[in-house]
């Protein structure tokens, strides 16, 4: 150990390969490796500039040192020129933004009246891309009116952006609340709109994506009203269903372009699993210890390294740990910086520039850096904790890797079940299809909310479509409470004083929300909203609420006023609320037999009561205490996927055994489902019933936690085989003895044989004959 310390303190510059080898010689690291892969590098796939490219634009590109276009950039230009709508799907930092900047600039050069609308999910990205396109225009000697229009845009320049902005850069929330309802003031934009750019399209998933799809439906109506038919350019990180997502978002037929022409160097990826702290309980060490050790080794070798932590606290702990360790050895501790939401924009810009110039050697970040902020490319990425999705993991790994040089990435799994699954099934990461981004633009709650906003913007003709079908039935429904009215011309008009767009937050599903108010600052400010259903588990009194990877303590929840008062706090635990849930199926959409029972999906009514919350330590999930929650019961109409067992199959199980088996199997399926569907584990709820009052048999339900759902239940129904097989494997490969937080649940909660019983049930559902015969 002493020898090791001496070695570690040496600040010998090493190349990435050598530094990695040295790291793997460290016995602590070597013992934790569960997978190691090398991805071969490849050269650039270049295409000459198309001959129709405006000469000044060509000059601008040459001025940047380019000799041609990458394959996917050229593909995008040609497809758009041919009038297609496209989705560009290539990895982080492959030059995606040129895929839209070039066609847009080309069209402005051909016709100065042409306009384009850029949508980015965050403000920081908007500023980045604005700087980028202004630079291109300057190099091309093109006078260009391009501006960001968001909540920070000063009022005096807003009207000039409306009337003269050739490129308007904004976000979906602003389009929804401040542009579309005022479209008559934006007629110059809508009359001449040639391009709609939707970058980071993979972030538009779940409820948010379902809302954004409807905002885009409204945008399409407004464009049609003013006679424009803009082309659409979506850009997305690699996901499992880029075409489906882009088509669901835009309602257009989309051509996917994924011939990535950007070069890449050789890349080494290592997956680490922290050691067990207690074999019997299965409790493991958190990810930060190994992450720090790995990062330190690379920093000491002078390699530029980015470390991703999963929360603000994790980032701060990692940062101070790294700086301290480097300071001890008189290392370059001041060249290691933090980067996360909550830092001032100027501070962020400074760090980004420092990373590009090399002055900043290491950066510890939350996933705020995951989205395409330009920081150049680094040598090494260390991921402290699985980012939650395959796609997100590749995005973070993609931060390391200069064009021709060797790079390395280290993924350190955390203690949670999903992390443990990935650590023990690294093939899931390397060979698995990246997750699908699911949205359901036709979720009735979301659809109706936007239909109101759309009617406010322009009346609906009788028989006019909104989405997949004519909207008359929905409009008639809205007319019942008088906000919409069918006039003499059979068209549907808005007939209310209300401003419907202000009643919708794109980030939550239901119209009734709890507003979260931060009282920590000089004056209270609104932090965000959560829907009523989730509010009880996320912002009950004394909850730790995470927002932008910052922690807030909920001081008070005023249920009647729908307000939660919070203040920023830094603690090392999080809270998890428990719901007592009863569930009633309302309608079965589809049903199929399976070994020992049936699987189905459909609409359900979930009645739930928040009962208690637990305080759990961040890294280890160790239980630190609990408290009661006093809030009313709530009903939720949503969609669910469920498995019901033939009563005879489990006839020889005791009631307790069956209960333990159902809960354990349900938990594992919940974990695997969130892995399969690229969703936050909280998006799916689980209910296990020994004797469902409805079916009079044992049932496991996985229900969507948002009203109406976003299409996850139907996907689980379709991917049932993978789900059950994944669950079975997860339990089978778990190194614990009889249940742990990473599989069927902690031993204390399931009794001594939770794991065995759950495993038996899952094998049965999987169709293994053994259990069937035993049951018979």
């Amino acid at each position: 150990m002493f020898y090791l310390e001496v070695v570690m303190r040496l600040y010998t510059p090493l190349d990435t390969r050598q530094a990695l080898d040295r790291l793997l010689d460290d016995p602590v690291i070597a013992g934790a490796v569960t997978a190691r892969r090398t991805l071969a590098g490849r050269p650039a796939d270049m295409v000459p500039f198309p001959d129709w490219l405006q000469p000044r634009l060509r000059k601008a590109l040459v001025g940047r040192g380019l000799t041609g276009l990458y394959r996917h950039q050229a593909d995008a230009m040609e497809a758009l020129r041919a009038g297609r709508d496209v989705a560009v799907v290539t990895p982080t930092a492959s030059g995606k933004s040129l895929c839209y900047h070039l066609p847009v600039l080309q069209s402005v050069m051909e016709d100065p009246a042409a306009r384009a609308l850029y949508l980015f999910p965050t403000k920081a990205l908007s500023q980045d891309q604005l700087a980028e396109i202004r630079d291109l225009a300057r190099r091309a000697d093109l006078p260009l009116e391009a501006a960001v229009y968001d909540g920070d845009t000063p009022a005096p320049i807003r009207s000039s952006i409306r009337s003269a902005g050739q490129i308007v850069v904004t976000n979906p929330d602003m389009l929804h609340g401040a542009i579309l309802p005022y479209h008559t003031k934006w007629f110059q934009l809508f009359e001449q709109l040639r391009y709609i750019v939707i970058d980071e399209a993979h972030t538009y998933r779940g409820v948010f994506g379902s809302h954004v799809a409807n905002v885009l439906r409204r945008l399409a109506r407004v464009c049609a009203h003013y006679g424009s038919t803009p082309r659409i350019v979506c850009c997305s990180a690699t996901i499992g269903n880029p075409r489906q997502l882009a088509e669901a978002l835009t309602g257009r037929s989309i051509q996917v372009l994924d011939r990535n022409g950007a070069p890449s160097g050789e890349k080494h990826i290592v997956v680490l699993r922290p050691p067990l702290l207690d074999e019997r309980s299965g409790v493991r060490a958190g990810s930060s210890g190994l992450a720090r050790r790995a990062a330190l080794s690379f920093l000491r070798a002078g390699r530029q390294t980015i470390v991703f932590g999963r929360s603000r606290v994790a980032v701060e702990l990692l940062l101070s740990g790294l700086r301290e360790a480097l300071r001890d050895g008189r290392g370059p501790f001041e060249r290691v910086q933090g980067y996360r939401g909550g830092y001032l924009p100027s501070e962020r810009r400074r760090i980004e520039a420092g990373l590009r110039s090399g002055e900043v050697l290491g950066v510890v970040s939350t996933n705020a850096l995951e989205l395409g902020i330009d920081i150049g490319r680094l040598d090494v990425a260390v991921l402290s904790g699985y980012p939650g999705t395959i796609a997100g993991t590749w995005q973070q790994i993609g931060r390391a890797g200069r064009r021709q040089e060797v790079s390395a990435a280290v993924l350190v799994a955390g203690a949670g079940p999903v992390d443990q699954y990935v650590a023990s099934h690294p093939e899931h990461l390397f060979e698995g299809t990246p997750e699908e981004a699911r949205i359901d633009p036709d979720n009735l709650h979301v659809l109706l909310a936007h239909l109101r906003a759309a009617t406010f913007e322009l009346p609906f003709a009788s028989g006019e479509r909104f989405g997949l079908a004519p909207a008359d039935d929905l409009l008639a429904f809205l007319a019942e409470d008088g906000h919409v009215r069918q006039a003499q011309d059979r068209r549907w008009y808005w007939a209310s004083e209300n401003f419907p767009a202000s009643e919708i937050s794109l980030r939550v599903a239901a119209p009734e929300n709890v507003v979260i108010i931060d009282t920590g600052g000089e004056r209270p400010r609104v932090l965000g909203e959560v829907d009523l259903f989730s509010a009880r588990t996320l912002v009950h009194e004394n909850a730790i609420y995470l927002h932008g990877s910052r922690q807030f303590h909920v001081d008070r929840l005023d249920w009647e006023e729908r307000k939660a008062y919070v203040r920023p706090i830094d603690v090392e635990h999080y809270t998890q609320a428990e719901l007592a849930v009863t569930l009633k199926p309302l309608e079965t959409f589809d049903e199929a037999p399976l070994a020992g029972g049936t699987r189905a999906h459909g609409e359900v009514m979930v009645a739930s009561l928040a009962t208690i919350y637990k305080k759990l330590r961040l890294e280890t999930n160790e239980n630190l205490g609990w408290g009661r929650i006093h809030l009313p019961e709530i009903e939720l109409h949503t969609t669910a996927y469920w498995l019901s067992l033939e009563p005879k199959v489990a006839s020889d199980w005791t009631r307790t055994e069956l209960d333990v088996a159902l809960v354990g199997a349900g938990r594992v399926m919940q974990t695997v489902a969130s892995i399969l569907l690229m969703s936050d584990p909280r998006d799916l709820g689980m209910v296990a019933q020994i004797r469902s009052p409805h079916a009079e048999r044992p049932v496991i339900y996985l229900y969507e936690a948002v009203p109406g759902g976003v299409g996850m239940a139907v996907r689980l129904f379709q991917r049932h085989g993978e789900l059950v097989e994944g669950a079975r494997q997860l339990v089978a490969s778990c190194p614990c003895e009889d249940g742990c937080p990473a599989c069927t649940g902690p031993r204390g909660e399931t009794g001594g044989n939770g794991r065995i019983l759950a495993e038996r049930l899952l094998r049965l559902l999987h169709g293994d004959g053994e259990m069937g015969s035993r049951a018979a």
Binding site: H183, T184, D473, E480, G482, S496, I634, L636
Partner: protein, 436 residues
């Protein structure tokens, strides 16, 4: 979407109907106490013609029909003389030979977003002494193009619009409606918005600057049984749902009174601006109004007219007492404004006399006035000793005010630099460089 998907949607809608609160509801929640609005499900009876006719009859108006819809036009007129030439003397002048079109709309909301509908346009105009108000009322959403077309016809290209807050609300809203229906808003010669003027002239003696407050405070009009503006959108929605034209009678009356008030305010302004006489202002006006008018002129750079206002107000202003000890009395403010205008007109002697008079008075602005006197003595009269004398009077004034708990921070800051500089100047002069 196939038939089965649509059927599913129908069943889901049905389930939504039976759960108030759209899917997520606390079990204890009850349906909206107001319930669905009355008459919601009443059919439109498929006889649009009839609907407009009923409205016309209820409002005593006539039906105007066209290819793009129908509307009801209500016209009333009476005698209301207005002398136009003084309007040319307004801070924002109106060309008196132009046709005046007084415009006020009633709408379904306060914003200018696309879902706000102006359903009633009141237009006032003169023919000789006869003032008439023509109101265009929308019988149904579908008739809006007809209303806009009629409105465009009613505004001559050389018309001068007169509105109350119309610059930021009524007119932009109408422009947006024209845009929505695919044509440009009618051109017009000019636009006089009375709201900012009312604020400048009358706000000082009124509770607020709403039209109803101003008309009662300035033109002596009191409305009886007027429908409050906030109730108007709901009244129109009720009419839309029920087709009962009488519901709009109150709204039409309210709007007509608004338009008539515009006419009366114009008349008050014309009188204030001297009626037919050649003199610029009416000396019998409230001195505070004159002060506001003067300031409005100053803002437009029309200094001679401003001076006329201040001169005319001076005598009356002394009898106006300040509301509280913290407010500068009107006559002092006037004297200050007057002195400033004189200085801008380069009538330096008169300006300094005005400052000196204000200074000697020892009132709230005395300290500030002494500073001005000091400036004048130093730079115009080249009399540093006199200037220092004035500066020390200012200092004494500041000390005195401070003791009274009403300090003059601006004066104190100014003196920190001015007094030492003057002393240095005097010292260097008395040290006697003969060249100086």
């Amino acid at each position: 979407m196939d038939a089965s998907a649509l059927a599913l949607r129908a069943r889901r809608l049905e389930r939504l109907r039976s759960t108030p609160g759209s899917g997520v509801a606390a079990k204890t929640s009850t349906p909206d106490p107001a319930g669905p609005a009355l008459g919601t499900r009443r059919s439109m009876s498929g006889r649009p013609q009839r609907r407009a006719e009923v409205l016309a009859k209820a409002l005593g108006g006539r039906l105007i029909g066209g290819s793009n819809g129908r509307l009801v036009e209500v016209e009333r007129s009476g005698s209301l003389a207005l002398s136009r030439p003084p309007l040319a003397r307004l801070p924002d002048p109106v060309q008196p030979e132009r046709p005046l079109v007084l415009l006020d709309t009633e709408t379904t909301g306060l914003g200018t977003a696309a879902g706000t509908l102006p359903f009633l346009c009141g237009l006032g105009s003169w023919e000789g002494e006869r003032f008439s108000v023509r109101q265009l009322v929308l019988p149904d959403h579908a008739d809006e193009p007809a209303l806009l077309e009629r409105l465009a016809e009613a505004i001559p290209v050389d018309a001068w619009l007169v509105t109350y807050n119309g610059r930021s609300f009524d007119w932009p809203l109408l422009v947006s409606r024209f845009r929505l229906h695919g044509f440009a808003a009618p051109a017009h010669g000019g636009h006089l918005d009375l709201l900012p003027l009312a604020r400048q002239l009358w706000r000082h003696r009124l509770a607020d600057a709403r039209l109803s407050t101003v008309e009662s405070g300035v033109a002596g009009v009191r409305r009886l049984g007027d429908l409050p503006g906030a109730a108007i959108p709901e009244r129109y929605f009720r009419y839309l749902r029920t087709g009962q034209g009488w519901l709009l009678a109150d709204v039409v009356r309210h709007n007509r009174q608004d338009v008539a008030s515009l006419a009366r305010l114009l008349r008050v302004l014309a009188q204030a601006l001297g009626g037919d006489s050649a003199s610029a202002v009416d000396g019998t006006m409230h001195p505070g109004d004159l002060c506001g008018l003067g300031r409005a002129y100053v803002r437009r750079g029309r200094l001679e007219e401003a001076l006329d206002c201040f001169d005319a107000a001076v005598t009356g202003a002394r009898s106006i007492l300040a509301a509280d000890p913290w407010t500068v009395p009107l006559h002092e403010r006037l004297a200050m404004d007057r002195a400033r205008v004189l200085a801008r007109l380069d009538r330096r002697m008169e300006a300094v006399a005005a400052w000196a008079a204000l200074a000697e008075e020892g009132g709230r602005l005395s300290g500030l006035a002494w500073i001005q006197v000091a400036k004048y003595r130093e730079h115009d009269e080249r009399d540093p000793v006199g200037a220092l004398e004035a500066a020390s009077r200012a200092a004494r004034e500041a000390t005195r005010r401070s003791a009274l708990g009403l300090p003059l921070p601006w004066v104190e800051r100014d003196l920190e630099r001015r007094a030492p500089r003057l002393r240095r100047l005097i010292h260097s002069l008395s040290a006697g460089s003969p060249a100086a």
